[in-house]
Symmetry: C2
Subunit: 246 residues, 2 copies
């Protein structure tokens, strides 16, 4: 009996990029798209690496904002295959390289201290989190810290980025303190913070943080982003512009 692989191809927001997805293991989330918009990119020259790249949503969107070369590092072979397909389908082979590696064991393909920007949309939940673990191991690896922890991600990002290079991460607001502590420990100074709120009068459910390697003190908090209108049914006009214009 053959197993049905639920592979599909979708537009990404703005309809300038296509992405291959698999319902059974991974589909991209809003978080990845917003991270690609939040990060300050080197415009022309330069090198970017996206860690925990999944099916490549962050690199695909970043390629709309920069001509810099982008390495997409992902531990799961199936997700790399999807990312590769998307890269080809969008004719981005010259810009995006998909690298099927465990970030804990990076080889010479990625060079320490060489990147202008490191982006990461890591697994959000610690292994001990009450947040329900998915029975599907492939889904769990993307959501829970099974293969790498927040501290691992930040330590490795700090080693990948150039002096005064940038690191941009999206995470759950409840882990803000931990993120800041790890960053400081790794010489990454948090410089920009932005919260995303599902709607008015709700607590935020995403936080974006940009850090600069060996940056000076002082953090800037940007205006908040509201996804849905007060009724919670439709995107706000502002969010639509932010999310869909590329």
């Amino acid at each position: 009996m053959t197993k049905l692989i639920q592979e599909r191809i979708n537009y990404m927001p703005g309809k300038k990029r296509y992405i291959f997805q698999r319902n059974d293991i991974f589909t991209f989330s809003m978080d990845a798209v917003l991270l690609a918009k939040f990060a300050k990119v080197p415009k022309e020259e330069g090198k970017i690496v996206d860690l925990c790249a999944g099916n490549g949503a962050v690199p695909l969107m970043l390629s709309l904002r920069t001509n810099a070369k982008i390495d997409a590092v992902e531990i799961q072979k199936e997700l790399c295959d999807l990312a590769e397909k998307s890269v080809e389908y969008n004719s981005l082979e010259k810009q995006i390289s998909v690298i099927n590696q465990n970030i804990m064991k990076l080889s010479d393909e990625v060079k320490w201290g060489s990147y202008d920007l490191v982006t990461c949309n890591p697994p959000y939940y610690s292994i001990n989190s009450h947040n329900r673990r998915n029975n599907n191991e492939k889904v769990s690896i993307a959501r829970h810290e099974l293969e790498c922890t927040l501290e691992d991600v930040i330590r490795i990002s700090s080693r990948l980025v150039k002096q005064t290079g940038r690191f941009a991460i999206v995470h759950r607001p409840e882990r803000l303190v931990e993120i800041i502590m790890c960053m400081i420990k790794c010489s990454l100074e948090p410089k920009v913070l932005q919260y995303v709120y599902p709607k008015r009068k709700k607590e935020p459910n995403m936080v974006f943080i940009e850090a600069v390697r060996n940056g000076g003190p002082g953090i800037k908090t940007l205006e908040p982003i509201y996804v849905y209108d007060n009724e919670g049914h439709h995107y706000t006009e502002e969010f639509k512009n932010h999310y869909e214009q590329w």
Copy 2:
């Protein structure tokens, strides 16, 4: 020639407390009132201490929310005199004690490790800050870290608070990282965060942080507060309720 002392008496928001002020040295700000609303108070029994108390705005407003005893510590004699007058005028002598001390040299009047809650609306600007220093030394002490730094305030608060007691502070958002680092260093775990934005599409200009001594990890970010409507002329309806209902 006698110098004119511009002393006046004002209502505080909600019109349940009066406060003595002096235009030439200190008038309370919105920040103090919002801090008194933000802090979780022990309801009946218990002890609170407010550091950098100025003319007593935080204790005066806290007294509307709790029957706990409140110590108000302020370094400047003139501000203590104003606070004393307000305490008497509002008949709060049994609840609020004004203590004219330098927090760097606290004596036995305040007991280490004994408070359920420490609140503080400290000077916001470091000595080296570009923010213009006021020629009036008395104004400068309240605004700039001339007599105590952020780290001093947090270290002392941590020593004043009970095990698992709370510490609530208001500050400028750009100093968030520094605040968190100092708190962690002093065994105060940041647990609640709230931003105040002057209006929509603007960056926040205040951040409120509550920490618990020896608390577990994980921080909750509350819904944001907007002070003015989109035109920036009037308080939002929500803010009015928040600020004026006591």
